[in-house]
Amino acid sequence: MEVVMAFVVATLFSCALYMMMRRSIVKLVIGLILLSNAANLLIFVVSGLTRGAPPLIIEGVDPSPFVADPLPQALILTAIVISFGVLAFAVVLIRRAYEVVKTDDLDQMKDTDT
C-alpha cells in the first residue's frame, strides 16, 4: 500500500510542478492546490499507514503493532485548514490581478521584475 501511495504522491508533485510552470495564472493556482495536497499526503504516507487499529493503547500491552499514530492526522488536518485559507486568498488574488492587469498570462506580468 505504501508503494502505491508513494507513486500517487510522486504523480501529484509532478503534476503540481508542471501546472505551476505553465503561463496561465489559473493553472498556477491549480498547481499550488495540488502541491499542498501532495505534501499532506506525503506526511500521511511517511508516518506509516495503519489499518483497523484505533489510536488507543491498551494498558500493559506492547502497542507497536496494534495502534495508529494520531499525530500525523492532526498535523495534516491543521495543514489542510491552513492551506485552505491561503489558497482562498490566492484565488481572490488571481481574480483581482486579472481585473487589474487584464491578462492571465504570466509572461505579461513582468513590470516589477527588471
Binding site: 495564472i25 491552513i82 491561503v86 513582468k110 516589477t112
Partner: protein, 502 residues
C-alpha cells in the same frame, strides 16, 4: 503569567481588538501605538529574564516537553523579539502619518498586529510544526498587507511573492513530515537529541537540504531570492519597511535555529553548501542593486546581499562567526528599516521613487540627508557605525577559518554596497531637483511637512540605534557572544526544554 507568553499575546489581543473596532480608525491607531509600545516593553522584560536564567521555557497547557507545544526563548530568540518590538513600535508611529486613509479603513492595523504575532511566534516556538503554523500566520498577514491598495505593480509582485512562499511552505511541510516519519518527534530539543540515533544519516541530510531550500526561499537566499526585489518595492512604504526589517530575518533565524540545534551531524557537507549560498547571495544581491535606478529596488536588492553576510556567519560555524551573524542581524534590521523609511519621506516630498526624478533634497532638507547618511554609511560598513563592526566580526571570522575566497567576496560586496549608497546620495540628495518631476508634485519651499514628526522620529530612533551599536558596542557584542555560546552548545537548550535527564 509567564513572561514568554506576553509578547505573543499582546499582538494577538491587539489584532482582535482592532478588528472589533473596525469602523473607528482613530481607536485602531491608538491601539497600534500602545500595543507595539507594550510589545517592546514586554520583550525587554523577556530579554532580562533570559539574561538572568539562560532560557525561559513555557509548556503550553502543562503538557510536558516532547508531547505538548513548547515555547522556548534562548538569548537569540529574545534578541529577535526585542528587535521585533523596536521595529513594530517605529512602524506604528510612522504609519500614523504615512498610511493612506483607504488602507486604514480596510484593516491595515489588524493585519499589522497579526503579522507581528506571526513573527514573534516564529521566534519563540520550540516545535517545528508550530513554527510552520506561525510562518503561515505571518505569511497570510503579509499577503494581505502587500496587496492593500490593489495597484497593478502590487498584483504582479504579489503573485510572485505568494507563489514562491507557498512553494516554500509546501517544502517545509514535506520536510517536517519526513522528519517525523524518521524520528517520531517534532519538538526541536527532542529532535536534536534523537537525530543522531537515526540509522539512515544520508536521509537526514536530504531532509536538512529540504529545510535549507524552504528557509532559504523565505530568507531570500540565492538562488530563489527573486520574489523579494519583485515585490518589496510595490506596497506603501511603511509595509515595505516592515517587511524589509523583519520578514526575511525570520527565515534567517529559522536557518540559525535548525542548523545549530538539529542538523549538526554533517557540518562539513551542509555548512559548506551554506557557505557558497551565502557567497552567491551576497554577490548577486549587490550586482542586482548596482543595475537598479529605483530607490526601493536598490534597497530591496541590498536586503538580499546583506542576508548573505548573516548566512556567512552561520556557515563558517565558528564561535566568532556565529557572533558576527547575530550581530549582523541586529545591525541590519535597524539600518534597513531606517533606509526604507527615508525613501518614503523622499517619495512624499517629490512624488517618485525613480532616482532620475529625485534630487535637491540636501539643500531643501538637510536633516533628512543626515538621517539617510547615517544608516547608508552604516550599511556600507564605514567606521564607527554599527555596520563596520558587524562586517568586521564576520570578515575576521572568515579569515580565521581560512575561507579566503568567500571573505574576499564579502569585502568586494562591501565596496559595491558603498557604490550603491553613493549612487542614491548623489542622485537624491546632491543633484539639483529635476525640472519635470515624474508626477506632479515638484519640490518647492512651500512643501513643508509640518506636523509630520511621526515620519522623522522613527528614523531618528533607528539612527540612534545604529550609532549606539557603533559607539557603545561592547555590551551588544557581549550579548551576541552569549547568544552564540548558547547556539553552539545545544545541550543547554535540550536540558532546559526536556529537563535535565539522569
Amino acid at each position: 503569567m509567564n513572561v514568554l507568553a506576553i509578547p505573543l499575546l499582546i499582538p494577538l489581543f491587539a489584532g482582535a481588538l482592532s478588528l472589533a473596532l473596525w469602523r473607528s480608525t482613530r481607536w485602531q491607531r491608538v491601539i497600534a501605538v500602545l500595543a507595539t509600545a507594550s510589545l517592546l516593553v514586554s520583550s525587554i522584560v523577556l530579554l532580562q529574564a533570559v539574561l538572568q536564567d539562560g532560557y525561559v521555557v513555557l509548556h503550553t497547557a502543562q503538557w510536558a516537553a516532547p508531547f505538548g507545544i513548547t515555547l522556548v526563548a534562548d538569548l537569540l530568540a529574545a534578541i529577535m523579539v526585542v528587535l521585533t518590538g523596536i521595529i513594530a513600535f517605529v512602524i506604528a508611529i510612522y504609519s500614523l502619518a504615512a498610511t493612506p486613509a483607504g488602507h486604514e479603513k480596510f484593516g491595515y492595523y489588524p493585519l499589522l498586529h497579526l503579522l507581528l504575532a506571526g513573527v514573534v511566534g516564529s521566534f519563540i516556538t520550540g516545535d517545528l510544526f508550530n513554527l510552520f503554523v506561525w510562518f503561515e500566520v505571518m505569511l497570510l498577514a503579509s499577503f494581505a498587507l502587500l496587496t492593500l491598495g490593489g495597484e497593478r505593480a502590487q498584483m504582479e509582485g504579489a503573485i510572485k511573492y505568494v507563489t514562491l512562499n507557498l512553494f516554500s511552505s509546501a517544502i517545509f511541510l514535506m520536510a517536517v513530515g519526513l522528519l517525523y516519519g524518521m524520528v517520531g518527534t517534532l519538538n526541536m530539543a527532542d529532535l536534536a537529541q534523537k537525530i543522531a540515533q537515526v540509522e539512515d544519516q544520508g536521509m537526514i541530510t536530504v531532509v536538512a537540504m529540504l529545510f535549507l531550500i524552504s528557509f532559504g526561499i523565505k530568507a531570500a537566499a540565492f538562488p530563489l531570492f527573486f520574489w523579494l526585489p519583485a515585490s518589496y518595492h510595490t506596497p506603501q512604504v511603511a509595509v515595505s519597511a516592515l517587511f524589509a526589517g523583519l520578514l526575511t530575518k525570520v527565515g534567517v533565524y529559522a536557518l540559525f535555529r535548525v542548523f545549530t540545534l538539529i542538523f549538526v551531524h554533517d557540518v562539513a557537507y551542509t555548512h559548506t553548501i551554506l557557505l557558497w549560498i551565502a557567497a552567491l547571495t551576497m554577490l548577486t544581491g549587490v550586482l542586482g542593486a548596482a543595475a537598479q535606478f529605483e530607490f526601493r529596488r536598490i534597497l530591496s536588492f541590498h536586503i538580499v546581499s546583506q542576508i548573505g553576510y548573516m548566512l556567512l556567519g552561520l556557515a563558517l560555524f565558528t564561535p566568532l562567526a556565529i557572533i558576527g551573524g547575530v550581530f549582523y542581524i541586529m545591525h541590519h534590521i535597524l539600518v534597513k528599516t531606517a533606509l526604507f523609511l527615508v525613501s518614503g519621506i523622499s517619495y512624499r516630498l517629490l512624488g517618485s521613487y525613480e532616482l532620475r526624478d529625485l534630487g535637491g533634497l540636501y539643500r531643501k532638507k538637510p536633516l533628512l540627508a543626515i538621517l539617510f547618511l547615517i544608516p547608508a554609511l552604516s550599511l556600507a560598513g564605514i567606521p564607527p557605525l554599527s555596520g563596520f563592526f558587524a562586517k568586521f566580526i564576520v570578515l575576521r571570522a572568515g579569515i580565521e577559518a581560512e575561507a579566503y575566497v568567500v571573505t574576499g567576496i564579502a569585502l568586494l560586496v562591501g565596496l559595491l554596497t558603498m557604490y550603491s549608497m553613493i549612487k542614491i546620495w548623489a542622485e537624491v540628495f546632491w543633484k539639483a531637483t529635476p525640472e519635470h518631476t515624474h508626477e506632479q508634485k515638484p519640490l518647492t519651499d512651500a512643501v513643508v511637512d509640518r506636523g509630520h514628526w511621526p515620519l522623522y522620529v522613527p528614523i531618528m530612533i533607528l539612527g540612534c540605534g545604529t550609532l549606539l551599536i557603533g559607539f557603545y558596542g561592547q555590551p551588544i557584542f557581549v550579548l551576541a557572544e552569549q547568544a552564540a555560546a548558547q547556539l553552539l552548545n545545544p545541550q543547554g537548550y535540550i536540558d532546559a526544554v526536556l529537563g535535565v535527564q539522569p
